[in-house]
Symmetry: D3
Subunit: 246 residues, 6 copies
């Protein structure tokens, strides 16, 4: 029997990979909220919706069925289709493996990293690489998971002056050492351990940092720009939002 296939079969049985589309949309808020925001936030006066023209999304009729299904599900759940899906659709094989990899590292359920921790790493790494899409999109996700409306902005300007716990500082120090492709020594691991991160957590932090080293660069050569919805997402407490959209 073919080994790779069998392993993917296992994945399917356990369902972890299949959670990808669901988690992605969860990451960017529920349907109703997003739709509301689209009404409230008209960006026509500003060219923030600059279409990703370098590699425009292929016609649906030219896309494999599974890619279309993924994109539609993502659109329904987010209220808009994040531009990364449009760009990656140019390469169905890379689309599949890219989003699978994303989910493996970002949606891992075990270990000591919270969803907010993972998004914070994504922001900090993407700032180093000056990648608009990843900074803006993952800042939005961080606001959503952390319920802290300004911490991601602080990290984006200067993570060392941000209102971070010592534990978060240690986590970002490791992530950014990996991001810079520093030599990682035992001393790095000891510093993590001092804040409750074991070797498996270190791998998780390293893997997220490494994944964004890749995705930041893909965003650069594909000229990927953030959807305008990301900028405002999670900035206003939900109570107020609901009220104002009623």
């Amino acid at each position: 029997m073919k080994p790779l296939f069998s392993s993917l079969l296992q994945l399917r049985t356990r369902g972890s990979v299949l959670l990808l589309p669901r988690t992605m949309s969860e990451r960017f808020g529920g349907k109703h909220r997003s739709v509301t925001m689209n009404h409230a936030y008209n960006t026509k006066g500003e060219n923030a919706t600059k279409p990703t023209e370098r590699y425009p999304m292929p016609d649906k009729k030219d896309l494999p069925h599974d890619i279309i299904e993924h994109m539609e599900e993502a659109k329904v759940k987010n209220g808009f289709l994040p531009n990364v899906f449009k760009v990656m659709a140019n390469r169905p094989e890379e689309f599949r493996v890219f989003f699978t990899y994303h989910d493996v590292v970002m949606n891992k359920k075990t270990g000591n990293l919270s969803m907010a921790d993972k998004e914070l790493i994504a922001v900090a790494v993407s700032i180093v690489n000056h990648t608009p899409y990843c900074v803006i999109a993952h800042s939005a996700s961080h606001r959503k998971y952390s319920k802290k409306p300004s911490l991601a902005d602080q990290v984006a300007v200067n993570w060392k002056m941000a209102d971070l716990s010592d534990r978060e500082v240690a986590m970002l120090e490791f992530a950014l050492a990996v991001c810079r492709a520093d030599n990682i020594t035992e001393e790095h691991f000891q510093k993590l351990e001092a804040h409750g991160f074991d070797r498996e957590d270190a791998w998780d932090i390293g893997s997220i940092s490494a994944f964004f080293a890749m995705s930041n660069r893909i965003a650069h050569f594909t000229d990927l720009h953030p959807n305008p919805e990301f900028y405002i997402m999670g900035r206003i407490p939900r109570e107020k939002e609901k009220t104002s959209s009623s």
Copy 2:
């Protein structure tokens, strides 16, 4: 007669310096809006309001009368007192000359730089120096003047990938050359001229960049942090805001 004094007398007659507090508050929105925002935006769960403890604001009774007057006027007009006033109050002489200098370069009425242009330069320079207060506060001002809710965020991540006009790119290229303390050559001026900026505009851009070279560094050694109100200011179109606060 003592020359410096007479010149400052002239300034008073023309009133330009005296407009400072008025302009500062104008920069950060009117009273009602800010007050509303303070209600809507409760940051207690997040430590974004970290007090500037390194050089805490002196007691009012120890401050000169003119400093107190300035601060109260700024507070009334903004709905909150920007932290830079609290920190600079530690040094009344520097307080006076710092805010006067700020106004001379930021509120200059002649030339081809709009208020939004000036704020954009402030953001771009402050990002290079990783100065949270200046990035966050001047991003807020930029949103207010430009009516573009996400351009400052784009510039903060990567100004070369932001939705800027060629004219804005030329302006920021000059500002950032000054910011890096590059040698400024005739070629720099020619590039500006190609986009309608004459030598006086070049001086204006250079002065703003140089002023933030100074103020960014003051912010660093005084450990100046942004007021939480700045993060959300100008992100939501006023129409909606009015509705939601009614």
Copy 3:
């Protein structure tokens, strides 16, 4: 039906993913040669075989069946098991998606990049990140595919002084711009086009560069070291080798 699974089913039918283990071993020479080399090249006096102790390979009994199958196949075909398989075996899910991603970008059959081109990009990017495993292993692969025994060494020291064609220089310039997370502009694409690389080739170059941005960093935090066999592989023309091992 779940979309991601169905797409992987398609992959299986077409067999492209399944070629991974076969291609990996092909990359590092055939069985007989490697076995011979192991005899000829005794590294005991030198500590080049430093075991990857930071994340030692799990016991086989703890590994999923498909991971074991992959590793055994790789070992048989190479004559030795490349250390990257041992390290990645610590994380079966990441093992699967990492090697699948590797194959998607490195074994793509269409476009203008030869196998030697792809390996050259891997070497050039990995040198920037100072990653021993990836430089040494992909230099070996490059020697094998290109039949040029010293070009990879030249690129490792100073690619701009290496004996490269103008086409190869253009290819590496793009790959390294992506590697540095530079902003990628239309000018970059035009330079590629001048040497016969279209937009799809640009994506291929960019994807390889981005993939190694990730894998270099994984190598760093896992402390991955090259197998000693890589250093000599492909340095001696096969004719001589056969003679000497007979």
Copy 4:
């Protein structure tokens, strides 16, 4: 009453701002010496007197009275008019606030910084920014105040190898951390305290460093060049000088 004005009135009463022109000329030696030097040091063979042509000094008839008064006083006292006055005269408002700011930070009478200390900071910061005017002019001032004819030259080449006391090293370390726009932490303050600098001294050092961050950049975009008199000033002990000019 307008607050800013009243504060400047106070300044006048206390006279600190009014001392500016007097102090500036004091900084660069008395009248007789300079005049002598102008005779002895003929720079016609060398183009060191390169006129500042980018922003030439406006005609006197176009300058406000107070600006002219300042410049004449400076010229009389120095024996020559430092080029910075000529350039800043293009912008009377900036002229006033720039020299006021200079005096506030450079002529502050309280605290533990000597005049020589302040000039040393100016040299060290201006070297980082490669600003000829500020390095040459403030090296001259340092020689005058410190009576050390070569220390500024040493600092200009390599401050860490200069003949500095530990106290001066600590002072420059802080000044240069501010100069580089580093994050300034409590550790920085503790290092200063170990050498007798309290928090108010730290502010003074930081303010001087920040002021030259600004003035260095103004010098760059205005293409400000040192007057030739600065190069030799303070190099020869006054006794000898007097003798030789008799």
Copy 5:
């Protein structure tokens, strides 16, 4: 009597300088082996033998007798003439003093540096300067002296991840501090002493590093390329080599 000459006369008597050509050839293996290698390693398909055309070797008839003698001796002993001799022959005076300097620092018999240590320093420094000739040629020498076929390659990619002893790490740290033109402090010497290197050894390490700072740059402006023979030299244990060439 003229002092410099007399000292060189002394050198002759002691013979140390005169050993230069002998040592150079010794460094690159004996005659028979090289000749064999030339047969086995045909680089025609690869342009590694790129002639050094920028400063082509002068005609023998135009060269001083002593230069010719040196070159012939080097050729006989190495089995090939290293390109550095061809390039330097353009300047007989520099040829003499360059190779004399090389021998003074590289062949010094006293102190704690082995021949392999010296070559390792040469490799590490030359990698920093990205100098192909010096990296490739001295890697070959290191393999020969150390009998470690892959350590130089490791150092070339990332010396901090190479299989080095703590003593070698300390040695390279000092050499690279000198290479970067760092300020060298007492702390540097103490670290060396902790690994058995006294002040004379420190000078030796520093001198080698400084010499290659010079020779690397000469190699750059003369466009010096490695002879193809260097790439394979010392990679295969001599026993096998003898067998295969018999």
Copy 6:
């Protein structure tokens, strides 16, 4: 006959090497002037004469005769013994080859580089490496040869803003490209040719830059400090000097 020796015999006959001590002293002014300066310039109040304690000069009785002769000749001619002789005396063999190399590149009589040009290169390169001895000593030499009392100071701060001819700029651009260990391409040579420098001049510029790459680093690890006499040398026109010392 031993080749190297014979070549050095030739050198002696032509006398070029033997001119070294004479030229070195010539470089730093005649005897009378220096002696005068020593009286006029008392540095006791300033610690500029910091002795080079790291490698103190050996006792004369332990030095070879030729080294002593050289040093005495240098002292007589300069009026003081430049510290570089004291430090290098620790290693007689390196002393000989170092000063010979210096003279070969700095005193070469052919080609288009003047003595002032060569000293300017030495200053510009030594500034990059922040080497006090070489900057201060060669600035003194430059003042002497060029009769321009402030050009070296300008180059020390910012060579691109110095009062240099286009020819000098081209020369320094090449020298600094070599200094940075840049890859030197045909384009570099073409730029030189546009200013009248042929390939032999390029070699000369490159050799001087490379020599100071070495000597700057030797100065760093030996902690070499400038003699105080260098700081003032050549700053005052000779006519005045003679008068004042009479």
